[in-house]
């Protein structure tokens, strides 16, 4: 009869067999490439000739600047532009889509008629939103002269169309245009918030009502704490995703990131450096910076999570 420990051993062996596809992926397509990217970021390489170790040179080019007559000139202004654009997009689109998602989810949680119909409609665009087809559509909607958006703006405000924002053709308005686009992807978050809202025990609202809490007070003391784990999860995922925006930007700017680098986001710049300029070392350095930004932002969020994320025993399971 086999002893307990041999049974355990058997179980461990079959576990690692079941895990083997994942382990191969983890080693060869995740940890290995991350280490390789870190190493390449200290190198100069065009992908064909031999690899030259150049130390911190890539990072020096990236962050380097000089000051002449009070003017700062950056060694790589496009890097700073891509950094600025990515942060600009994230800081505006993440809170906006999250607030809209929570608001819509709360409205749907009111036991109104046709909720599954509404849920479908609000969710549908988010399935399409990262696609190339949707970006092509928005390119047309944002068309300065004949686009739908400017027609609406000029219809409502009576501003003549040629004085409306030029959207994708204007360095000032191209990023707000991307943020507007992101509002059509609130559905994916909304579904999760809705599930979270439905998990909040009704008894808590009843108790609050008996205590005479107003609607607003109920929202602050019951809804938000109950929803906070879901909001926290979504915040982290949304930020990670929005730092990686690429498809929409590539399509609306024809892969250039214009006008005047105003839509050059980090991933587009990495793509250009790696696959158009064949500066694989420099591109790897850029991707390492992206990694560090995302890791730091996630770390900060986890660090402050216990200040506002509320776990109730029975919700956690």
């Amino acid at each position: 009869m086999p002893t307990m420990s041999t049974l355990r051993k058997k179980e461990a062996v079959s576990a690692y067999l079941f895990l083997s596809p994942f382990l191969i992926w983890l080693v060869f397509l995740m940890i290995g490439p991350i280490l390789a990217a870190i190493y390449l970021s200290f190198c100069r390489w065009n992908g064909l000739s031999s690899i030259h170790f150049i130390g911190l040179a890539n990072y020096k080019t990236m962050f380097g600047f000089s000051i002449h007559d009070g003017h700062i000139s950056f060694n790589d202004p496009r890097f700073w532009a891509s950094l600025y654009n990515t942060f600009y997009y994230t800081i505006l689109s993440v809170p906006l889509t999250m607030v809209l998602g929570v608001v819509v989810a709360m409205m749907m949680d009111q036991k109104i008629k046709g909720i599954s119909f509404f849920r479908t409609i609000y969710y549908l665009p988010s399935v399409l939103s990262s696609g190339v087809a949707f970006a092509v559509l928005w390119k047309w909607i944002f068309n300065a002269r004949s686009g739908l958006l400017n027609y609406f703006i000029s219809f409502v405000t009576t501003i003549p169309i040629d004085q409306c924002p030029k959207w994708l053709a204007s360095p000032t308005w191209s990023k707000p245009a991307l943020v507007i686009m992101s509002c059509w992807s609130i559905g994916s978050g909304m579904i999760i918030y809705l599930a979270g809202l439905q998990n909040i025990p009704q008894a808590l609202y009843e108790a609050a009502e008996i205590d005479g809490a107003s609607r607003w007070r109920q929202f602050l003391t019951v809804t938000l704490p109950g929803l906070s784990p879901v909001i926290f999860f979504n915040l982290i995922i949304s930020i990670v995703f929005s730092f990686q925006i690429f498809n929409q930007v590539y399509i609306i700017s024809n892969g250039i990131g214009g006008p005047a680098n105003s839509t050059l986001v980090m991933v587009l710049y990495i793509y250009q450096k790696a696959f158009q300029y064949f500066q694989l070392g420099y591109a790897s350095a850029l991707s390492c910076v992206l990694l560090i930004i995302i890791m730091v932002s996630t770390w900060i969020q986890f660090k402050y999570a216990n200040k506002w994320v509320y776990y109730e025993g029975e919700l956690r399971k």
Binding site: E11, G32, A36, S130, G131, A133, L137, N199, V267
Partner: protein, 297 residues
């Protein structure tokens, strides 16, 4: 006036405000729905217009003489690549091959891996699972360049292997997590019963748990299908020859060729969106439930 009278008055006025709130909420939701659907409607409307009516102001919402021929023209890409015999049929077939293979790969491998994480005890399980979740935070672009070099050195450049093989290697952290969470909701007694009947781990997985986790697998399958249908960066990096293009690459090419002919662009965009819309409408109930019940408890 006695106290019960005040009470009933209070409740009826409360009911009235509640009803008014509900109607207001409903109206806002309807307005929002129109806003959400307007772009898709506009895509459809533009696709049916002539070149002249596309740019008309005020815009024509429903074209009087819908030009269905636009779909045929866009599909056949008159002009470009005619000599090469490439049109959207080629792109569609290519995209279906990639998306379906990915969906199959993700369903199989995420189930296998998730089973180990959910049901088996082995040294290093918690560390590995944590590592798996941590990879969610790693932006794809960090691994993109070394992975590209790896696949190129394997001779996989301009083939579909780089786009398909990774799906069979676990299916990604998110899918593993989702299926694992679903496994966790299945009572452990079922495994025990299987064990008593002499089932191996493979037997328990294949005969008992796999049939029960179909909803979760359908969810990750649909997600992966849609993700790959929309994927752009990977095909852009790995696929070089036009006959191997996916729909997203084909459409991008189409955009640079047709520039301002928005009726044809919209026709093509609409057609390549339709499968996603259909799959979404069919699978909608399933994967909303999938996310709601498995993902975030």
């Amino acid at each position: 006036m006695n106290s019960t009278g005040v009470q009933s008055n209070f409740w009826s006025s409360k009911k009235r405000t509640e009803r008014i709130t509900k109607i207001a909420v409903w109206l806002i939701l309807v307005l929002g729905s129109v806003t959400m659907l307007l772009p898709i409607f506009w895509m459809f409307s533009t696709a049916l217009k002539t070149e002249a009516t596309v740019f008309a102001t005020p815009p024509i919402w429903i074209p009087l003489h819908p030009l269905w021929k636009n779909f045929v023209d866009a599909w056949n890409i008159d002009g470009i690549y005619k000599s090469q015999g490439v049109n959207f049929t080629t792109y569609t077939i290519n995209t279906i091959i990639i998306s379906v293979s990915n969906a199959i790969g993700v369903m199989i491998s995420s189930a296998v891996v998730a089973y180990a994480f959910a049901r088996l005890r082995f040294p290093g399980r918690d560390v590995l699972f944590l590592l798996c979740l941590a990879t969610l935070m790693i932006p794809y672009q960090v691994t993109m360049i070394p992975t590209f070099i790896l696949f190129r050195n394997l001779g996989w450049y301009n083939t579909y292997y780089p786009l398909i093989v990774p799906a069979f290697l676990g299916g990604g952290a998110f899918n593993i997590f989702l299926v694992r969470q679903f496994f966790m909701t299945i009572p452990y007694e079922l495994d025990e019963a299987g064990k008593i009947d002499g089932c191996s781990h493979l037997g328990i997985f294949y005969r008992i748990l796999l049939p029960l986790c179909k909803p979760a697998l359908a969810t990750v399958g649909v997600f992966s299908f849609v993700y790959n249908w929309n994927d752009f960066l990977n095909p852009l990096i790995y696929i070089n020859s036009n006959s191997k293009y996916t729909l997203t690459l084909g459409l991008t090419n189409f955009v640079s060729f047709y520039g301002q002919q928005y009726n044809l662009l919209m026709a093509a965009s609409l057609v390549i969106s339709i499968p996603v819309i259909i799959i979404f409408l069919i699978g909608n109930q399933y994967f909303i439930r999938g996310i709601a019940t498995t993902g975030f408890k």
